[in-house]
Amino acid sequence: MLASLGTVWTLARKDLLLELRSRDIVLAIVVFALLVITIFTFAIELTPSRSRDVGPGVLWAAVAFAGVLGLNRSFAMEAEGSTLDGLMLTPVSRELIFFGKVLGNFIFVIIAEIVIFPVFEALFNISVLQIETIVIALLASIGFSAVGTAFAAVSVRVRSREIMLPLLFLPTSVPLIMAAVESTSVVVNGGSWADFSDWLQLAIMFDVIFVIASAVLFQYVLEE
């Protein structure tokens, strides 16, 4: 068990080191998300109540769309140098490779969110940096990373992978995006715990189902 965790961490650490050198993934997510958020602040006349109505939707649409860019890059990087083949040559199980990639992508999304959330809060003038939204952000990032990693692996050998990934990832992630938007909306509008917990449960269920399903899918999609 410890050895498996060590392998997962070795894989994620390698991705973090590569990202530290290239800064491709986090930068792509942050810049794209901030652009989307900024454009909406100009497009909508932001009164306090309108900010609370549309803000959560803008925030999570920006994170989801920007996340696709980062996830695409994370696997494209492996395909470019055929390093995916190098990974496949190792005696490490496909599940551990999957969880290593998911952990790396999860950390990238979280780092990007650490930058995006305060900027969003400042521009929309609503407080999203609360414990409930942080929990939802963690759950959403787990789901995005798991589904995104599996579909990035599906898309990696396809010529039009930049188109393929969003086409697979976004429709599948709709329940998670809905849960994130609605629960954030409950938080910023001062809703009840009962309302919040319904969406929280949906996010947890999504994560449990799709982490397992994505891990199973991953094993098959990498076979030539």
Binding site: A3, G6, T7, T10, K14, L17, L18, R21, S22, G81, S82, T83, D85, G86, L87, M88, L89, T90, P91, V92, S93, E223, E224
Partner: protein, 259 residues
């Protein structure tokens, strides 16, 4: 084992002989890509201590065969066993015995040579990893380039690093797909030395090469692929270049180096 009539340097230790233990056993392998059938019922057996050279015209399936043996590509039909481990069921066990240098170096360009070797060493749980990295770097003439990013290395040094990666976990089978391509003379000598050492240790080497003379001189056995199967399987001492090229079919497919 090696024909004395060839001009290419004799690189194998004549004292080493195949042990009889079957390293690779492939039977009735079939693999198609779309409508193109590449392997059609191919059978081959490689024993421990054998160096096998695979020849064939472009597109005949040499690289596909090596990828299948490396567990990277799953055949449509047929059976493969690596030291008794059946693929794909026991692929994780089989991979411990396989080191492969294919067309691409399979190294992370933005990581240094040391970081790459350490990463792949950890994936194989190589004991004494730091010492092994230094040992492989010294063996491949990479000691002064250990802290250089792979992206900044020349093609030849990337190939050396790829060879170091493939040998990190001391595999018993070495798969080389045109590994000598783009190497300068010192690097070729290192490659020849690695093959000879592997052979001397009683391990198996399966290689494809552009150079027919070199391939025949540097191997125990020759396979020529044609029509999706093995058209010739003979000890290298009984094979001439024309035996090989005669089986290529369309002569226009044969490049200046051979394949």
């Amino acid at each position: 084992m090696i024909s004395p009539t060839h001009d290419a340097p004799e690189i194998l230790d004549p004292g080493a002989h195949p042990s009889g233990v079957i390293a690779i056993e492939a039977s009735r392998l079939e693999k198609s890509f779309g409508n193109a059938a590449v392997l059609r019922g191919l059978d081959m057996t490689v024993r421990d201590g054998e160096v096998v050279a695979i020849f064939g015209a472009n597109g005949v399936g040499k690289s596909t065969l090596l990828r299948v043996l490396a567990t990277l590509t799953r055949p449509d039909h047929g059976n493969i066993s690596i030291y008794g481990s059946d693929l794909p069921k026991q692929a994780e066990v089989a991979r411990l015995s396989i080191g492969a240098v294919l067309h691409s170096p399979m190294l992370y360009g933005d990581l240094t040579v040391k970081e790459n070797l350490t990463f792949f060493g950890k994936m194989f749980r190589v004991p004494g990893l730091t010492e092994r990295v230094d040992e492989m770097a010294a063996r491949m003439g990479l000691a002064r380039r250990l802290n250089q990013r792979v992206r900044e290395l020349s093609h030849g040094f990337q190939k050396r690093a790829a060879l170091a990666r493939a040998l990190m976990h001391r595999p018993r089978i070495l798969l080389l797909d045109e590994a000598e391509t783009g190497l300068d003379e010192p690097a070729r000598l290192i490659l020849d030395g690695v093959i000879a050492e592997h052979h001397g240790a009683g391990h198996a080497v399966v290689m494809t090469t552009h150079s027919i003379e070199r391939g025949i001189a540097g191997s125990d056995r020759v396979f020529v692929l044609s029509g999706g199967g093995v058209a010739l399987d003979r000890p290298s001492s009984q094979v001439t270049s024309s035996d090989v090229t005669d089986l290529y079919g369309d002569p226009s497919l044969i490049g200046p180096g051979g394949t």
